[in-house]
């Protein structure tokens, strides 16, 4: 039975349960109109429907997980399996070939030795499908009858349905949290393995990044994994060059939008700016790599800087800065707009001009929110990958010259994971250590920023 069909059956049975439950509830409410019903008939319907659909689907998921095991067991127990070779790899190949033919995924077996196994597979699959269906239907029917029998005029169907809905919501929110947690645990785990090869001191404070995925993992690797050039590249591109672009432009656009723009202009300019935040960063990456970087190189060469690279930190940083503008401006915009209008009036009534009011009252009052926005933007910028992968280079370079090529933490993570090295090699494992550092830094930045914003909100409520 295919998952789609199963879902369909579950929905159908659920609908039947819903109609039946509703009908029963309506009936006993009609029979006794003197008492106020505890729950409306719809809730009785939902109660039964949930009791039919949820156990059925839960069982189906369980069965689909169990079935391949059961099928395999029964095939191995058959006579045809007795002639299988002992050697694990060949054995597995034959079995999977036979299974593919049996389920219809492949037209014929490649190795004739697998042919006798097809029939046992077919039989077992058919048998367990039927068993599964019977069990599923029994469960559905039993649950349906049981829940249906519980319905009575004083039954609190609404509370129960709402409890089920709440449980679903809790599970949904747990998924995201647990996933993050799982990622973090695996990151930590791999990071510890990496530190088995390279000491944390060498990693965090070494100034030469030169991993060699082809080297023997047992050789001493300490001097190859100094991450300082990567941290520097990340900060230089993401927190310095990008912010030199994003902070003034973002702030100025926020000031224009909140203080000077006509409401009609603001009504379309603000959403337009925020849409920029939704542009896939790979698009910015193209722009950086194909337009901005060659332009910067040509300009640099024309003024006599011969060694200007076509993969400059400047190109990546500039484009990243443009990408970050909406983050800065929308937080600044919100913070300035949150300053009470009475501050502005108070300042204007003192004879201050509009620009004096903005400079001396509004911006200082909104400063915590603005700073928080900048921190969020920085954490966004240093975690940004596509632009730097496309426009910066993979050459680690500890330099202050923006025209030179540089690399960042995220670029190296991509490079190390897509390289040829095996998963036991420190080169590959270094990607996890880098990811862990990045995770910690952005977490701290976001945490501080959110705290600041919260304080700021409280100050004006």
């Amino acid at each position: 039975m295919s998952p789609a069909l199963l879902l369909f059956v579950a929905l159908g049975l659920g609908l039947v349960g819903w109609l039946a439950g509703r009908a029963k509830a309506s009936a006993f409410q009609r029979a006794d109109t003197s008492k106020r019903p505890v729950a409306r008939p719809n809730y009785h319907g939902w109660y039964v429907a949930l009791w039919v659909g949820v156990p059925l689907l839960a069982f189906a998921v369980l069965w689909m997980a169990l079935m391949p095991m059961l099928v395999m067991q029964s095939v191995l127990a058959s006579d045809a399996a007795a002639s299988l070779p002992e050697f694990g790899f060949m054995r597995d190949t034959l079995l999977s070939e036979a299974r593919s033919v049996a389920t219809g995924a492949a037209p014929a077996v490649f190795d004739a030795a697998a042919r006798p196994l097809i029939e046992p597979f077919r039989d077992a699959i058919q048998r367990y499908t039927v068993i599964g269906m019977v069990l599923a239907m029994s469960i559905a029917v039993i649950c349906a009858l049981w829940s249906y029998s519980r319905l009575n005029p004083t039954f609190t169907a609404r509370t129960r349905v709402e409890r089920a809905v709440m449980a679903a919501l809790v599970i949904a929110s747990l998924v995201a949290i647990l996933t993050t947690f799982g990622i973090l645990v695996s990151l930590i785990f791999e990071t510890i393995r990496f530190f088995g090869f390279v000491s944390p001191i060498d990693f965090l404070f070494g100034t030469s990044w030169n991993p060699d995925p082809m080297s023997s993992p047992d050789a001493d690797q300490g001097d190859r994994y100094g991450a300082i050039p990567l941290f520097w590249g990340t900060i230089y591109i993401g927190a310095i060059i990008a912010m030199i672009v994003a902070i003034p432009l973002g702030l100025m656009s926020a000031i224009y939008l909140t203080q000077y723009a006509d409401p009609r202009v603001r009504a379309w300019l603000k959403p337009a700016l925020e849409v920029l935040a939704g542009v896939p960063t790979v698009v910015y990456g193209y722009f950086a790599a194909l337009t901005v970087a060659p332009f910067i190189r040509d300009v640099a060469r024309s003024v006599g800087i011969e060694n200007a690279s076509s993969e400059s930190a400047l190109a990546a940083g500039l484009v990243m800065g443009v990408m970050i503008i909406p983050f800065v401006s929308s937080m600044a915009d919100d913070s300035i707009a949150a300053v009470p209008g009475s501050m502005r009036d108070g300042s204007l009534a003192m004879g201050a001009t509009q620009s004096e009011t903005i400079k001396r009252v509004l911006i200082p009052a909104a400063l915590p929110g603005i700073v928080a926005g900048i921190m969020l933007a920085i954490s966004r910028a240093i975690g940004e990958t596509m632009i730097v992968v496309m426009a910066a280079s993979t050459a680690a370079n500890l330099s202050g010259n923006p025209l030179e090529s540089m690399t960042t933490v995220t670029v190296q993570i991509v490079a190390m994971l897509t390289g040829e090295g095996s998963f036991d090699h420190p080169a590959t494992l270094s990607a996890f250590a880098l990811g862990f550092v990045l995770f910690l830094v952005t977490l701290v930045l976001n945490f501080i920023a959110l705290r600041v914003v919260k304080r700021f909100r409280e100050a004006y409520e």
Binding site: M343, G346, A349, M350, G351, A352, A459
Partner: protein
């Protein structure tokens, strides 16, 4: 019809004079043909039911209505004979001469010192730190706040109590040495004790500045003002010496309002 009662109105020089002032918000007229003289030596109270246009009229006296895009003012408003709505009028100078205190205390989120120093700094009134210190002390003293805050001038103005905040705002207005102070229901957000302090302060400032106060409390108008104008539906209905308006109103609507029949 406007009743202006000249009995008990000694001739004084008018600090401000409005002639046939209309104020509109878009198409809606909020003030209808108001002509009034604001004397320089006294406190003038604007009373009337809420929504009758008192704040609107008050805000047109220092052009704070300019900050509302839909607002439009017709007629003439003069400050010592100079039309404040003429083209080329310097609004910055005007607002330095005609200060304003708002309904809700609105100190800046800066230190007490910086709140007071704000105006003198933007208008360039103080040469050097000592002069600025002197202005701050003088303003806070006049606003009756100096003794309460002199040891904590670095603390934020927003950390003061509501009544103190309002006196800080009055001190802030005084600091630029205005000629007129407009107050829009300055006590409506305060408790009775803080209100009494502000009224006392207004008494002390009387004579030094021309003061216009909007109030919804008739007792307050009676206590602090020497002139009262009663507004109703955008019109000024009756204007005269405060005791005449309260003890012996002529217009039916004034009578109804001060006897509490509506409002």
């Amino acid at each position: 019809m406007v009743t202006v009662r000249h009995e008990n109105l000694p001739a004084t020089d008018a600090k401000m004079r409005t002639t046939d002032v209309n104020v509109y918000y878009g198409d809606k007229q909020a003030i209808d043909s108001v002509s009034i003289d604001i004397p320089s030596q006294y406190v003038t109270a604007f009373i009337g039911p809420s929504g009758c246009g008192k704040s609107t009229f008050l805000r047109s006296l220092n052009r704070m209505n300019d900050t509302i895009p839909s607002a439009r003012v017709e007629g003439t408003i003069e400050l010592e004979g100079d039309d404040i709505y003429r083209s080329g009028m310097d609004v910055v100078q005007l607002r330095a001469r005609v200060g304003m205190v708002f309904q809700k205390p609105n100190p800046f989120p800066k230190s007490i010192y910086d709140n007071i120093a704000y105006g003198p700094k933007i208008h360039g009134l103080a040469e050097g730190k000592d002069a600025l210190d002197a202005i701050v002390e003088k303003s806070l003293t006049r606003a009756g706040l100096w003794n309460e805050v002199k040891d904590r001038l670095d603390e934020s103005g927003t950390a003061l109590s509501g009544g103190q905040q309002q006196r800080l705002c009055i001190a802030r207005a005084i600091a630029v040495d205005p000629e007129v102070i407009l107050m829009d229901e300055p006590c409506s957000a305060l408790d009775p004790i803080a209100t009494a302090k502000i009224e006392e302060l207004i008494d002390e400032l009387t004579g030094r500045y021309a003061i216009v106060i909007v109030t919804h409390s008739m007792q307050q108008a009676a206590r602090v003002s020497q002139r009262t104008a009663f507004f109703h539906l955008g019109k000024m209905v009756e204007y005269g010496a405060t005791e005449d308006i309260f003890t012996n109103p002529i217009e039916e609507r004034t009578k109804d309002y001060i006897t509490g029949r509506y409002g």
